[in-house]
Structure formats: C-alpha cells, structure tokens
C-alpha cells in the first residue's frame, strides 16, 4: 500500500514540478495564466493587478517570489473553486482600490508601475489597513475570535494578503527553499543547536 501511495505521489509530484517549472521561467509576470488552471475568474486587467500586487508582497530574490510559484494563478482558481461570492467581491474590490491608487497618483495602472513605485504605494496602504477597525458583525465563536485577533480597518486587504502569503508558503518552492520541510521526519529530536543561517522547519498540519 505504501508503495502504491509513493508511486502515485511521484506521479503527482512530477505534475506539480512541471507546473512550478513552467511558472519559474522568466516570468511573463502579468500575462494571463496558461496551462493547468482551467478555471479563471478575473478579467485580464484584474489578473494583471493581482500579479503585480502578489509580486510586491513577495518579490523574487535568490528564490522565486509569489509570481514565480504561481500564486496569482492559484488565487484566480480559488476565486472559482473556493471563494464565496462575498469573498470574490472583496478581492475584486481590493484589486480595484489598489489600481485606483496608482491611477490617482501616477495616471497609470498599478501593473504598469515599476516595482519600486508599486511598493511605495502599497506599504502605506498595508499599514493603514492594519489600524484598529470596527468589530465584525458576524458572530464569532470564542475560539475564532481568539484566532482572528483584533479587528482591522481593511479586512478585505488582509484576506488577499493572507491568500498570497499562505499560497506562497505552502508551495513546494517556499517549503523546501525558504524553509525546511520533511514530510516524514522519522525521529523526534527534542534538542538541536541552531547554527548560523539555519532555516525554520515548515509544518504540514495544524500543529
């Protein structure tokens, strides 16, 4: 049984490898997604804004950034396969707001700006979004309230940023290059000396 799982896994991994390989090519960063992502929600200009935002939140350096691992394509897919109408509306609204920011300031679309300029606009936007906001109207359980933390001014932005971060850090590239991920660690080592430059271990579940 384990062998069978391992074989299926290899097949799956191959496919994922292809996807990531394709996405890691010199990124036609803001072009329409190609290949596997059959379902798309965003129109081309919205997708370009999303790609520019994702690239600004997690840019490429020595490792690929959000665009390199296909985050915009995955979010576009999730808008079809995961998001409620409300979430879709919030994400589209945030993308429009950020694009408007650019048009008001520079008379260009956000996607058309240089990476430096995009960051200059997004840093204050992000900071303002985190200011304390009104209590959410939906009823949260005690646990949800504790996990959610204090309410912020622009929860829709936090939602989009959370998708970007989560999808990036659950990608194979980030989990194996930014962090160390061993699916089957084997032994429990309760004490390990930290060496300079050591990366954090990634977790695969709720703990």
């Amino acid at each position: 049984m384990i062998d069978e799982i391992a074989m299926n896994r290899r097949a799956l991994m191959g496919r994922i490898g292809l996807l990531i390989g394709a996405a890691a090519l010199p990124p036609e960063a803001f072009a329409l997604p190609k290949g596997k992502a059959a379902k798309k929600f965003l129109a081309a200009p919205q997708f370009a804004t999303l790609s520019a935002v994702a690239d600004t939140v997690i840019p490429a350096d020595e490792t690929p950034g959000a665009v390199g691992v296909g985050v915009p394509r995955l979010i576009d897919g999730m808008l079809v396969t995961w998001a409620s109408a409300d979430t879709r509306g919030q994400i589209v609204g945030v993308l429009a707001a950020i694009d408007k920011l650019a048009r008001d300031a520079d008379r260009k679309s956000f996607a058309a700006l240089s990476p430096e300029r995009r960051k200059a606009l997004l840093v204050p936007y992000d900071k303002d979004a985190m200011k304390p906001g009104p209590k959410p109207t939906e009823k949260l359980t005690a646990l949800q309230a504790m996990m959610a933390g204090p309410p912020v001014m622009n929860p829709s932005w936090v939602k989009l940023k959370d998708l970007i971060i989560t999808l990036y850090y659950t990608s194979e590239v980030a989990m194996t290059k930014e962090e160390i991920y061993e699916h089957v660690p084997g032994k429990w080592v309760p004490s390990l000396k930290i060496t300079p430059g050591m990366r954090p271990f990634a977790s695969g579940g709720p703990f």
Binding site: A85, M130, V152, V158, T170, P190
Partner: protein
C-alpha cells in the same frame, strides 16, 4: 443469528468487537456510515502543496454543509471526508444554548481523527460524585478498572512517562514517552519550583513511539513524527479502530462488519426482558431490516446511544428502552475547552528541535486536590506546549516585500501555550431528546440537544484562565493572547454521561458492568456510561470499560445467565 451485535465501529465499538471476537463469539458490527479504505481515503501521503485551495474547504460548502464540523481544529480539505455533513445530519438546540456536536460517521468513527491523548481516571474521579453529591456514585472504583487500563494501553500503545502522580495513575505498559524540548524543560522547572503541587509532564499519547511485536503483527509500525495524524496514518502508528481494533477482531474470523446500516432501535422481548436484535435502516436504499443476536453492545457514541434507546420506545417502554430511571439522554457532560493562554517565552536562544512530535505537554489536576479551588468543586488539567513560533509572515501584521520575505527565513521566537480542560458536572437538565415531528431523510426523529455550562463551570473557567496566566508569567512568559470564556459545550468533543452507570436502577441506566439494569443482555460502553467526567481525555476509559464489560458479558453467557 449472531452471538453478539455491536452498534458502532468507532473507538469503543472496535474494542467491543475485538474482545468479543477473541472470546470466540460470532460478532456483527453495524456501522451507519461508509467504509473507509486507508489506501484511498487517508491523505497523509499527500504533500502540503498538493491539496487544492491551500487545504481550505470552499467557503460556500463550509456554510452549507459543515457550519458545525468546521469549528473543529482538525477540519480541513485534507480531512473533510471524515466529518459528517451537518446538512445531512441535523439536530436542534434552543437558540440560547449552542451545542457543537462534532461527529464522524464511517468505519472507525472518530478514532481516525482523534487527538490521541490517553490518561487514566483515578479514585479522585471515581469518588467525586459520592463525596460532593453531584450526580450518582460510580458503581466502580479505580481498582476495578486498573487491569483493563493496563490491557488497553498495551494493545493500543500509549507512549508516556511514569510520573508517579496519584491523581493521574501510570500505566504498566507505557511505550517510551516523547521527550520535552529544551524550552519545555525550562518551563517545567519554573512551574515546578514555584508550585510543588503542580507538575509539567509529557502528554501521554496513543502513538507508537516504539512499535512492539504485537503492534507489528497487525501491520503497525513506529511513529515518524509528522503530526498529521488526523488525516489517518498509513504507518498505523497511531491507534484507530480502523487499523488496530477491527483488524484484531477480523483475524479471529469471527467478525462481520456491515456498513451503511443505521441502527434505528433495539428490539426487546417483553416476556424475557432481553434484547433480541436491532432494527436497521439501509443508508443508501432507506429500506429497513432486522438482525438478531444473543447479546447487544451499544457503542454508537454517547448521544447516539441514548438516541437509539429513546427511539426504541415501545408499548412496554413508553420512555424508551432501559429507561425506567428516566436518565437516558440526561446528564450530558463535555470538558470545558478552549480556555487557552499563549505568551512569548524566554526559552533557550540557540536551541531548536526537529520533527513534529505528535503530543504536547500536560499539567495534571492540582485544584481541589493539592490546592483549593476558588468556590467550585472538581478540577482541571492543561494541555499545551512550548514551540518555536512559525516564522511565516502573518497577513494581519504590517509589512510587505523583501522585509516580509526575510522575516520568514528566521527561526521564530518561543511561544508557550496552555489550554485548560475543565470537568463539567452532571446536570439532568442537560439532555438529548427526540423531536416530536421533525424527521431526517431516513424518517428518524431529529435529536434535540439542550446543554449549558452551569455556575460551577463558570467559576472554574475563571480560575483556569487565572492559573494559566500565572504559570506562564511565573516562567517568564509575556502573555499575548488569552481566551475570555470556554467554547460552547460539544467542542471539547468529549460528550458523555447520557446512559450513566450507577448503583441504583431508579437513578441510573447501567450497573457496575455497563449492563442495562432493565435489559440483562444489553451493554453500553461508550461515553454514555460515564457517571462523571473527570478532567482527562476520556477515550482510554471508554476502551477499558468496554474490555471489562465484554469479559463480564462473555462470562454471563457461558454461565447461561444471559
């Protein structure tokens, strides 16, 4: 005609099947849900990035089908198929009394997704009702169940240390306990030096730290420290009914398992008073049929077992089967849950750990034991851990770009986290009944659950939080997050008490052998049987009670007494 029918294939039903099969009985296990095939249904070999939607269940689907189940920490795209659809299995509650009923209907029940924490009750618990007068006296004491704890711990494989604490008895057969990390050792030293009455120990858990030959015989192997056990473990390194108890039953050639068989009610012969069999509705065809047996074990989980008894009402038993006491369905208890405190911890700077240990730390009960409680009876323990905070950037904190990415590359600071599990008192008003008219898609009445924590729980919850904060702070932690109140009852997923044991048939349903006072060949050995809740995770006790009752039932059968 079978020798025995076991209703439910989960944590307790699996043990009933194993013990009865091993005693030579021909056993039929009836399971209302679908069968589970570990090769296909386990997702533990799927890599994190291979799940769709970043492991999140679609939002509309959550709202429509899983509004209750999704409140459980273990619910995700990786485990979705192990939870009931709330839309298919409705229950009602009064508007002001939330009850979060977390369920899995399939072969193995919730033993596939459980958290594996495995502790013994002690006489502090078995004597509690008699001493303070809440509930009815347990008809057994620790000495009655101790050998059965031994037997079950050996079979399921519990890893733990022998800590020598009277309120949390040690097992004879523990596998080596998982070790504390360096920060946890520091936390332990700080807490124990300030309070001699408080101990910080490694959580005792049903994971095979080292598989023994009798585990390997059943295809199980040692734990690989992945901590994704709720997806099902392809190594068989955690105990589940599916990969341990039922295979043990099956190898006797005495087991018949029928899935998609919803037990509707138990049939009693009014002349002899004995149960003769059960009525079943086929989940898929919705057609009814009956099965007969000389012995019936009821292991459908506490609320469902009470439900089946209530639904077995007849001319002779207008209030339901075995319910002359009117206690069936009453006294629902669940441990108070989510009383958590978290803080940044000044742990050793250059120390880390490797692997994902499938258990945390445990702080056994000290209130109303070595230290007085503040105006309430009974007590609580804490589960938790001290670990390096995931360094992944958080969306709710300001920061983007290269700085955010750089932050994710650093090993995070230590965070200490402890969460209290508080004992809940039996209260006859906390109960499950049957809706008079509303029916589910199988034509069965919808359960109505009324359950609320009372004043004793409220006072205890306050002290759980205060003690949690005090211990973290005494160890030098800076508390950053603390719950304000307990989660709704049910969310502790330790619901119990609805078919309680007792000495007097007028006030209890089962005797000291889990045998129904009024139906001599009917035994209920799931959480329903619990006369009080203690404060430790209860499944090991259900399993021990089950093995003990099975042994007794077989003796009675051999003597011709039932």
């Amino acid at each position: 005609m079978f020798d025995a029918i076991v209703i439910g294939s989960g944590m307790s039903g699996g043990i009933a099947a194993k013990e009865l099969c091993e005693a030579g009985l021909k056993v039929l296990v009836l399971e209302r849900g679908n069968d589970v095939d570990p090769g296909k249904d386990y997702t533990d070999m799927v890599m994190p990035w291979e799940f769709p939607n970043a492991m999140r269940v679609p939002e509309d689907e959550v709202a429509r089908d899983y509004p209750v189940q999704s409140q459980c920490y273990a619910f995700s795209e990786a485990t979705k198929h192990f939870w009931v659809k709330d839309s298919d299995h409705p229950y009602t509650t009064p508007a002001d009394k939330d009850f979060t009923w977390i369920r899995g209907y399939h072969t193995g029940g919730r033993s596939i997704m459980w958290g594996r924490q495995s502790y013994r009750l002690s006489d502090l618990d078995f004597e509690a009702n008699a001493k303070d007068g809440f509930g009815v006296d347990w008809p057994i004491r620790y000495a009655d169940i101790a050998p059965w704890y031994d037997k079950m711990e050996k079979f399921v494989g519990v890893a733990g240390d022998r800590d020598g604490l009277p309120q949390l008895p040690d097992g004879e057969n523990y596998l080596p306990g998982f070790e504390l990390n360096d920060a946890e050792k520091q936390f332990k030293a700080a807490v124990e030096s300030k309070w001699s009455s408080r101990k910080v120990i490694i959580g005792r858990t049903a994971n095979l730290s080292v598989a023994k030959p009798w585990h390997e015989e059943l295809g199980r192997s040692s734990c690989n420290n992945r901590s994704i056990c709720e997806r099902g473990c392809s190594f068989g390194a955690m105990h589940s009914s599916l990969t341990n108890s039922l295979p043990a039953a099956r190898r006797t050639n005495n087991l018949t398992l029928v899935t998609d068989a919803i037990v509707h009610s138990i049939i009693q012969d009014p002349k002899t008073g004995k149960a003769t069999g059960v009525r079943v509705i086929d989940r898929k065809t919705k057609v009814g049929r009956t099965y007969e047996a000389r012995l019936v074990f009821l292991n459908a989980s506490a609320i469902n077992s009470a439900y089946i008894l209530l639904n077995s009402a007849s001319e002779h038993n207008p209030n339901g089967l075995a319910n002359g006491s009117d206690q069936v369905g009453r006294n629902i208890m669940d441990h108070m849950y989510a009383l958590s405190t978290a803080g940044m911890f000044p742990g050793p700077k250059d120390s880390y750990y490797k692997g994902r240990r499938p258990t945390g730390i445990y702080i056994p009960r000290f209130r109303n034991y070595a230290e007085d409680g503040d105006g309430y009876v009974r007590g609580y323990g804490y589960q938790g851990g001290v670990s390096r905070l995931g360094s992944r950037p958080r969306a709710g904190m300001p920061g983007i770009g290269a700085e955010l990415k750089e932050q994710g590359r650093h090993i995070g600071p230590w965070m200490a986290y402890i969460s209290g599990f508080g004992e809940m008192l039996p209260n006859p008003e906390n109960r499950v009944t049957l809706e008079k008219t509303a029916k589910d898609q199988w034509g069965m009445p919808i359960p109505h659950i009324e359950c609320k924590q009372g004043p004793n729980e409220a006072k205890m919850a306050k002290q759980i939080l205060a003690d949690g904060r005090a211990m973290l702070e005494a160890a030098g932690a800076f508390v950053v997050n603390q719950a304000k109140e307990a989660g709704p009852p049910g969310l502790g997923i330790h619901e119990m008490g609805t078919v309680r044991m007792g000495r007097d048939p007028k006030t209890s349903v089962l005797n000291g052998w889990n045998q129904a006072h009024e139906v001599p060949n009917l035994f209920c050995t799931d959480g329903g049987a619990m006369a009080s809740s203690g404060c430790v995770n209860p499944s090991l006790t259900y399993m021990a009670l089950t093995a003990r009752a099975a042994d007794h039932a077989v003796k009675l059968m051999k003597e011709g007494a039932i």
